[in-house]
Each structure stands twice: as C-alpha cells, then as structure tokens.
C-alpha cells in the first residue's frame, strides 16, 4: 500500500453530528475514491474542534486549512481545487469570517500555557518557554514597586475564589514593616471536583516557583512556603524536583542571578481539611496549630505566619504572574471583562460530553462553555443547572446561560467563582439532593469553632434529609431559609458565611421542586428513593420471573406466566427489576 500523503479531518463532535457530518465524511470518501486518490488521501472523523456554531468542519491537515459550514455540494470543489490543484477554496475558509479570526477558539491558555506542552521534570524545557525570564527582568529592574504596579495595572484578581486584587494585596504586604515576611502559595485545593491547582503543579511547577520568587522580591520576603495537601503526592514530588532544579541553577537560594536577593521555598503539608483553604486557618495549620480561622483584621498581610506579614496567593494566581511580567499589564488587561481580567481555569465535570480542564477568557458565557467546549449534555438530555464555586457557591440555571462569566456576575446570580469547579447537571438530578450533598460536605468540614456553622449546618442537613424522605412540610422550607441567613450572618469565616449558599440558591432557582417534595411528595428526577415506587404493569408483564429472580430482597411475588407484584414494604428501590425486565413492564411512579 502506498504511503498516505494527505489527510482530511471531519469534525465528529455532537453538534456537528446534528449537521450530518457523517454524510459529509462518507461523501468525501466517495469523491476521493472517484478521483482515484484513495491510496494517498485519508478521510477521518475526529473529536470536537470547538467551533460548533460554524459546523460542519473539514480540516485539511497537511497545510492546516480549516473549512467551515461545509455542505455536501462543496466537497467536489474542495477535492478538485484544494487536494488536486492545491488552491484553497477561499469562500469556505475559517479565516474568511472576520469575527472568527480573532477568537476562532473559545479557549485561551495562560495559566495552563505549559501544561501538556513541556516535561514538568525538565527545567530545560521550561527555559525554552521563557522560563525564569520574568524573574530575571524583575530583579534587573531593581524596583519592587514597579513590579507591584504592573500586577496592579494588569487587574489580576485572586483565583482561589474571593477575587481580591492581587497587586493590592502585594502592595499592602510590601508596606508592612517587619524583619521577616513570607510568601505563601495556597495549594490546599478543597472544592469537590476542582483540580486545576493540582494540574498546574503537576504540569508546570516552575511557573509557580518563579512567581513566588517574584512576589518575594516585590513585597520584600525572603521565604516562601507552599501549603499543599498530602493527598497530592505527584504534585508534591514534581514540585520538590522543580525546587531542587531551581536551586541548582540559582533561581532559589542566595544572591539570585547576581542581584543580591535571597529567596527559598519550603513545603508544608495539609491533611486535606477544607477550612484550611481559608488563609488564616491555613496559616495556623502551618504553624502547627489547629486549622481554625481567626478574625480579620489583622489581615495576614499585616500579621500572618508567625506573626509576620504574609502574602497568601493561590496556585493559579501565581501561574499568571510570569506571563504578565513578560507580556505586560496592558496585554493582560485587554483580555476579559471590565472588572475581571484575564482567563479562568475551570474543571468541567458532571453530565457533560467532554469532561475536562479548560481555560477561558473571563466574560465567556455558560452556553459557550457547555455546548461548544463541553460538547453538550450527555446522552442528549436536557440541561438543568451548573454548580459553580463548590460548597460555597450556588447553581446557575437556563436563565443564566448567556450571562458573561466573571466574579461580579456570578455573585449577582447567587453563586460565586470559587476555585473553578463547574459541575453540570441534567434533568435527572434532584436539586434538593444536590443541596443535601453539599451540606453533608460542609457539616463534615466545619471546624466547629462557631456555633451557627457547627450546629446550624447540621440542622440544615437534617431538614433537607427530612424533605428527601418525604416528611418535609412547607414550614420546613421557611426554616431552611431563615436558618441559612442566620448562619451566613453569624459565622466568622468564609466557610460558614457561604455554606448555606447551595441551599439558598436551589431554593431560589428550584422552588417548584422543593414544593413538589413537601406537598405532593414527588421527586421529578426520581432520585429521592422514599418518594418513588417501582410498579409492574399487569398488562405488560408476561410472568417471565426475571424480576423476581433478580430482586435482592425477594420483594417480588407471582406465579410463572402470570403478572407479578412488587411488595412496596420490602422493596429497597434498587431498580434491578427494571433493568432486567425485557418487556418494559416496570416503571417508576
């Protein structure tokens, strides 16, 4: 067989599927065969190109040409003109649409720029990607305030969730007078489903080390600490390797690059307590004390680790720093929305086709994330909600699909940016159960210092449990709301102040579902087992006994070849019978 010379790729994403991409692919193969080129030109279906609104997409691989909106009648021209004669079909080119030229792809990787590109354990590859150049520039400038000004001007805000302006934090810490100051990297990623910090540390640890040294120079600190959860062994190993390499080349240690500036980094391990992501609790944990938050002020920037001024930033925040120094504040500030600059990494999870780690410019809409980057909802189900911000956040629904995502809009919509977990839910998810799931998490993770958080969240959980068991009343819904507000108003730290958010947000957006649970005792998603019954339709049942044989608790009775019956008192609602029934005789009521 002759060696294949050219490849044509046809997008096989879900939304191109709806646009008959399979017809395009098979017609294309046919046309190639007609021209006698099938020995040297291969047609291939691929994953999603992320250009869904412009599908169907055909890419000519060898010269990197992308055709959009391709129709079956265009194929002959593409083959004859482009493949045989070598002239691109300009009217179909992606570049011919001026709107798409700039943002042809929805994702822009800044924090993740080197992840999946370089070998994280080879510092030479980091050098080839401008590694430590930003640190060199900062040290050469001999002007810490200039560095702070660049970060301030860039508009970078904390990526750990709160969104505090990073440059301002640096400035406050730099102005605090002390014999010793600290730079702390918060790598205590605790939101369920969020793993962007781990991915950055595993894929590009040097960028975080470089940024910490830059921060150290800017604020006048000579010591850096990374607070990382012991549950991230690979991230720890790669970070250690990177720190050692960095020391060997003299980017950590004394007299860095001949500047007279000393800086070194140590690791501190966390035991995986959610509350230790809060900066005061984190600092106490590093000091060897209980991981409990304390009142602010004093802020860590004034009195933090061992009572010294301490600047705490998140991993993703740090990963942005070297790029901002290298490319300039203006470059960074041109990306994103008015008050939220740059990009955000999200861990896209849940009922979505392309589960993945994505980085998008601020201001992108949920619709673009879910339907273009994420490839739509799994199994063609209906979208219901997106949970952002983890246990501190809330749900966004259909009405928020076109809201530009940034710090302020998410808060206005009753959720928050959080560290960037984004869990997609479909029609099969019960929102009361979702709220209960998050409360279960918070009850477990509350440090117990404040009574409203320690006891109040437990009561919230119990009321939600009661509702999912079909024993809830309308008064319970009022109680949920009132108690939530009390907990928010009277807790000391971010954990307690935000823990009722999943409840409030689902009450707000899915009031009907709560009402259904407490009045007609129905769960529309069939998730609350106490509120559903498996029923055998005697008309459909042929008495094959498959259900009875597979019932783990022997709840099904009936004679062979006669209709069977489920004893509801014994049934544990596992659904095994429904799975085994070949006659669709069993349904959920």
């Amino acid at each position: 067989m002759a060696k294949i010379k050219k490849h044509l790729l046809v997008c096989g994403g879900t939304s191109c599927n709806a646009l008959q991409n399979e017809v395009i692919a098979s017609n294309l193969k046919e046309t190639i065969r007609e021209k006698g080129l099938n020995e040297e030109v291969q047609v291939m279906m691929t994953g999603c190109f992320g250009l869904c609104e412009k599908g169907p997409i055909v890419k000519v691989l060898h010269d990197n040409t992308i055709y959009i909106g391709v129709k079956p009648e265009d194929l002959k021209e593409i083959v004859e003109e482009h493949i045989i004669n070598g002239n691109k079909v300009t009217r179909l080119l992606l570049d011919s649409d001026p709107n798409l030229k700039v943002h042809s792809k929805k994702q822009l990787r800044i924090a993740l720029r080197n992840c999946g590109f370089i070998d994280p354990e080879n510092i030479n590859e980091y050098f080839a990607c401008d590694g430590y150049l930003a640190l060199g520039k900062v040290l050469e400038s001999k002007d810490p305030q200039k560095t702070i000004d660049i970060i301030k001007k860039s508009g970078l805000r904390g990526r750990g969730g709160g969104g505090f302006p990073t440059g301002l934090k640096w400035e406050i810490t730099s102005k605090s007078q002390a014999d010793q100051k600290y730079v702390v990297c918060n790598a205590d990623e605790g939101d369920p489903g969020a793993f962007m910090d781990r991915s950055i540390l595993e894929g590009d640890p040097h960028s975080v080390i470089e940024a910490m040294a830059i921060a150290g120079y800017a604020i006048g600190a000579t010591k850096g600490l990374v607070y990382i959860r012991a549950e991230y062994p690979l991230a720890i190993e790669r970070l250690k390797t990177a720190i050692n390499q960095s020391r060997e080349f003299g980017f950590l240690g004394t007299d860095i690059m001949g500047s007279g500036f000393d800086f070194d980094i140590e690791l501190r391990y966390g035991a995986g307590a959610f509350v230790c992501g809060e900066e005061t609790a984190l600092i106490h944990s590093m000091e060897g004390n209980r991981g409990e938050p304390t009142f602010k002020p004093p802020f860590p920037s004034v009195s933090g680790y061992l009572g010294k001024p301490t600047n705490v930033n998140n991993v993703e925040t740090f990963a942005n720093i070297p790029v901002i120094i290298n490319k300039g504040a203006e470059w960074f500030a041109a990306i994103g929305t008015e008050k939220s600059k740059g990009t955000k990494v999200f861990a896209l999870a849940g009922k979505i086709n392309n589960v993945g780690l994505i980085e998008v410019p601020m201001g992108i809409t949920l619709r673009e994330i879910i339907y273009e980057i994420g490839g739509g909802i799994k199994d063609g189900k209906k979208f219901k909600a997106v949970q952002t911000g983890g246990p501190s956040g809330g749900c966004l629904t259909e009405v928020h699909l076109d809201t530009p995502i940034d710090y302020d809009n998410l808060i206005a919509a009753g959720s928050m940016m959080g560290s960037g977990g984004m869990i997609v839910m479909d029609e099969d998810d019960c929102m009361v159960s979702i709220a209960k799931y998050y409360l279960d998490f918070t009850v477990e993770e509350s440090c117990g210092k404040c009574t409203p958080c320690r006891i109040g969240n437990k009561r919230l959980y119990e009321i939600l449990e009661k509702i999912t068991l079909g024993k809830g009343t309308l008064e319970d819904l009022d109680k949920l709301k009132n108690l939530s507000h009390v907990i928010k108003d009277t807790s000391l730290c971010g954990l307690g102040q935000t823990s009722p958010n999943p409840v409030l947000s689902t009450l707000e957006n899915f009031w009907d579902e709560y009402i259904e649970h407490v009045t007609v005792k129905k769960c529309r998603s069939n998730q609350c087992k106490a509120l559903m019954q498996y029923i055998i339709d005697p008309e459909q049942c042929v008495g094959c006994t498959a259900c009875a044989r597979n019932c783990p608790v022997n709840a099904i009775t009936g004679e062979r070849k006669l209709a069977h019956l489920i004893n509801q008192d014994i049934c544990i609602k596992c659904g095994a019978c429904m799975e085994k029934c070949k006659f669709n005789a069993i349904s959920i009521k």
């Binding site: 994953g47 060898h62 990787r109 999946g116 050098f127 991915s199 690059m257």
Partner: protein, 128 residues
C-alpha cells in the same frame, strides 16, 4: 551545573534550549511523542502506555523521543498522547490504551495513516 548569574546568562540559556528544540523538530526521522502524565492520566494507564511506547518503538527500530508532560485537559479521553512525525504538525490522540498505542505505531507512525481517537486542539496558547 553552574548557576545562572545574570539575565544575559539566562537569555543565552533560553536560546540554547530553544535551538535544541528546533533542531529536534527539524530532524528528518525523529518521531516525538508526549504522554499526558498528570495524576488522572496515570490513573487511566498513561504510565504503562509510556513504557510500552518506549519499549516497542525501540524493538521496532523507530527513532523516537518519548517524554512525559502535564495535563492536556482532555479528561474524558485519557490516556492522551501527542505524536509529532518529522516535519508534520502534532496530532493528539485520545483513548490510547496499549492496543491503540500499537495501532498508532503500526499505522500512523509507520505509514502516516490516521487512526480513530483524534482530538483537535481546541485552545489557543499565548504567543511566545
């Protein structure tokens, strides 16, 4: 290893590393493979895959560099690898188990014939 003593030294070092990479890319018969090896990739079998690729490419006398890298972001399709044939654009393949790894060597690397599981790069990176 000598310490980098100034910004000038660092710039020289960068140029040296860059030109090494360029040299590698221009090499006429070197196949380059990157295996996504974050925790999630490893959990899906990336480590075994990487060992398999190194052994098999060697056995089949194909000159190749196989390196590890971090998360490429395609969690739904782990393990993922990026294959760059000499003078060709990199191609990312997803769902690469050992069988698919073997197929990629036999079909794509040896014969330039693509196999299923191609993931088009759906992001832009910052210009260096």
């Amino acid at each position: 290893m000598s310490k980098v003593k100034s910004l000038e030294d660092l710039k020289k070092l960068r140029e040296e590393m860059e030109s090494k990479l360029v040299e590698r890319n221009n090499s006429s018969n070197l196949v380059q493979i990157k295996v996504a090896m974050a925790t999630c990739g490893i959990a899906s079998g990336a480590k075994d895959l990487m060992e398999f690729l190194i052994d098999e490419l060697d056995k089949r006398n194909i000159e190749a560099v196989v390196t590890q890298t971090g998360c490429m972001g395609y969690c739904y399709a782990e393990p993922t690898i990026e294959v760059t044939l000499p003078n060709k654009a990199p191609i990312v393949f997803g769902y690469v188990n050992l069988k698919k790894g073997d197929e990629i060597i036999e079909k794509y690397i040896k014969n330039n014939e693509l196999v299923d599981g191609i993931i088009p790069v759906n992001y832009e990176s910052i210009e260096k």
